[in-house]
Amino acid sequence: MADDRPHARGAHRVLAPASAILAALLLAATLIAWSSGGGSLDLPWAPALGLRLHFRLDGLAVLYILLATGVAVAVFAYSARYLPLHLAHGGRPAGESVRFYALLVLFMGAMIGLATAQDLILLFVFWDITAIASYYLIAYDRHEAESRWAALMALLVTGVSAVLLLIGALVLQAEYGTFSLPEILEQVRPGGAVTLAGALIALAAIAKSAQVPFHFWLPRAMTAPTPVSAYLHSAAMVAAGVLLIGRTYPVLESSRLVLDGLVVVGVASMLVGGLLALSRDEIKRLLACSTFSQYGYVVFLYGLGGPLAATAAGLYVLAHGIAKSALFLTAGAVTEATGGRNRLSDLGGLARELPVLAAASGLAAASVAALPLTLGFFADELFFGAALERGAGYALIAVAGAALTFAYLGRFWIVIFLGARQGGEARAPRLLVVPVLALGLAALAGGLVPSPAADLAADAASASVLGPAEASVAYHLDLRAENLMALGAWALGSLLLACAGGLRDPLMKVASIGARLGPERIYGGSLVALNRLSDRIHDFEVRDLRTRVASVLMPAGLLVVIGVLATPSAGAYTVGSIRVRDAGLVLALLVACAGALATTVPRRHLTLALVVATVGYGLTAVYAFIGAPDVALVAVLVETVLAVLLLGVFSLVPADVLRREAELPTRATRRWRDPLVGVVSGGVAFMLAWGALSRPVRGESIAAEHVRLADDAHAKDVVTAILADFRALDTLVEVTVIAVAFLGVSSLLRRGRLL
């Protein structure tokens, strides 16, 4: 729906700077709050269910908020230039950018809430908000079928796993009686329920962070516009998964099984992601594979356990978030500058024309590849240290992972910026390059003065492991193990880079096998299977409903009759007395019955409608005589509206169609079957009603109670009191049914247009 009103054009120009300023303010506020010791907010939310709005700004929260708001500033600045170009390419009105910024700001808010939430259900709510915002952002280019497919995939994978998080929360609540995280984490002891909860929470986290085997949604999500990929899929949404792990770490830590599982998943993601990234041609897909590979490092570290590993994980998230978003923004800028080229095979030699971009992205790439003078170097130093602490095998895996990272990042940067010049002129607008430069310089600054970042990571780790953690990072020019491992990784990586060309084909083959047999296939297959199941059920049940109904009604009726006759029932049926003043009641009943019997006669629809209305009005009189005036009032009004409705709908259908129905001769079989079924079912209803109505009144009924309590409810009409007070929940559900029926009628009669 186009939204190109004149004032929208002006409004959207304010949005980007306004959002960037908002993000910057939040960043500053967080820093100030952290330096003054953090704070917390604790409000009751739903005391009956034990939920509280409990937010706390601790080290872990600060780390993720810093990432979420800091990268947001860069992304908003970038979008100010990128989004108009993107919309112009698709021929879409500029007013659509409102949706973009609104969703991104919503996402940022949800990340802040997620980072500071201390109540499991609150956490789950923010978790789902990020999933929903991500759905709309990935499908920002709504007209592209691939975008919609990717958005649905992301939503289903992260949404279904969110249910696992909820179940885990409920298991913890059943075990410890509270949803509040600080209380649970204090009391955690190893045990079956805790292991189950830990496993479920870990599953939700790895699905969110796109770890193997849930990694397939992330490369697909690259159909989103570049700023979205830079924000969500490198620094925010996928970070939420490891945030959850960090937040609930004591629960996961209590079970060796869960931690080992995390190690396996982390290693698998590291290697799979690295190998895929080495073979990808499209630059954003390459970066996506790199992202889940890097988060594999983090999951691996959390699986290793211990304060050093947790500190390394925190520092890794920070370093990766900064650098990877810079690389995504670079990819977008490069594509924009070269007029739409997004494959490595089409790009080359851009360093001459885009020197600033080359340098900035070089810094970012160096940070992810853990070269010295960047924050990533220290992240890797801690990473190697933690792996070494646990054993030589882990150290070897760590080196292999780092080598892969070095190789594919080297390939990325070298191919794009060095080498033979491909394509025509390349010009990148300044505002697309400056954010990349800012992030790259941040990575450089972290490399020169690592202690603030390291302290923050240590703070985050101590919030995770509930114990002291410290990180002393500095340049050591000696032959300590970490340095050796780093050198080994670079050497191995350079070797891989050199034979990258030769390796590509076998890697592509492996990747295609994975696509054919891997988890993505399972996802697609289950959706198709669900559709088919629904079609099958529809065919089976609905094909000829009436015959099925009749074939069920008859035997059921006969069985009930036999049952009723067989059970001893002497004295169970009372005829009841008829008083003289009930004459009106009897008359009304007779009218209703006569009307009902008369409905079998008319052939024309109009007459039939009026006869059915007669039955309704007769029953109204019955209700009035019986001492139920409220019911009578509603019945007469509803009957009137129904009559109007019937006449209205009959007037919509052409007369000849109705006449055709009216004059249809009944088939021979039907001529005896229908009345028989009518009589039998009527008889059964009669028996049941008689038996029910004959039951003797025993003791005091709820009715008397209601009459007594009506006074307390400030009501004199007990029925209204019941409807609006005692049983108001029924009424609420009923009005929902009315609203839904209205929706249904509206859309059915107006061919899908709702209101």
Binding site: V649, R673, F686, A703
Partner: protein, 123 residues
């Protein structure tokens, strides 16, 4: 009195069931209306006591059971909503299939299913 109520319920229900078996979508809807009416009647008459209406009841007076009345009101209104929905559904079916006869509809659907099967086999 109970016998009379039960008889009325039976008669109305039976007529509704008879209409329900017709091949005409509108008659089916009206059959459902009748069955709903029968159910509501059974509901209201199943009240424990019968007496004056439950408004400004003085203590000790026999008062009609208000709980079933409230339930019946809910049932009547929901029945109306469902009927409205069914009627629009019938109209919509008419618009897309140009008939409101269930026999014609089911034979048309069977025909279409056969075509689809044969098309799948040939491919």
């Amino acid at each position: 009195m109970t016998l009379l109520f039960a008889l009325a319920v039976g008669v109305i229900f039976g007529s509704g069931a008879y209409l329900l078996l017709k091949p005409d979508l509108f008659r089916i809807t009206l059959g459902i209306v009748l069955i709903a009416n029968a159910a509501n009647l059974a509901l209201v008459t199943s009240g424990r006591e019968r007496g004056a209406s439950p408004i400004s009841a003085t203590a000790g007076e026999a008062v009609s059971d208000p709980v079933v009345q409230a339930l019946a009101i809910t049932a009547i209104v929901i029945g109306f909503a469902v009927t409205a929905l069914l009627l629009s559904l019938a109209y919509r079916i008419y618009v897309s299939a140009r008939t409101v006869d269930l026999d014609e509809l089911s034979s048309a659907e069977a025909l279409r299913a056969e075509e689809e099967d044969s098309r799948e086999l040939s491919v």
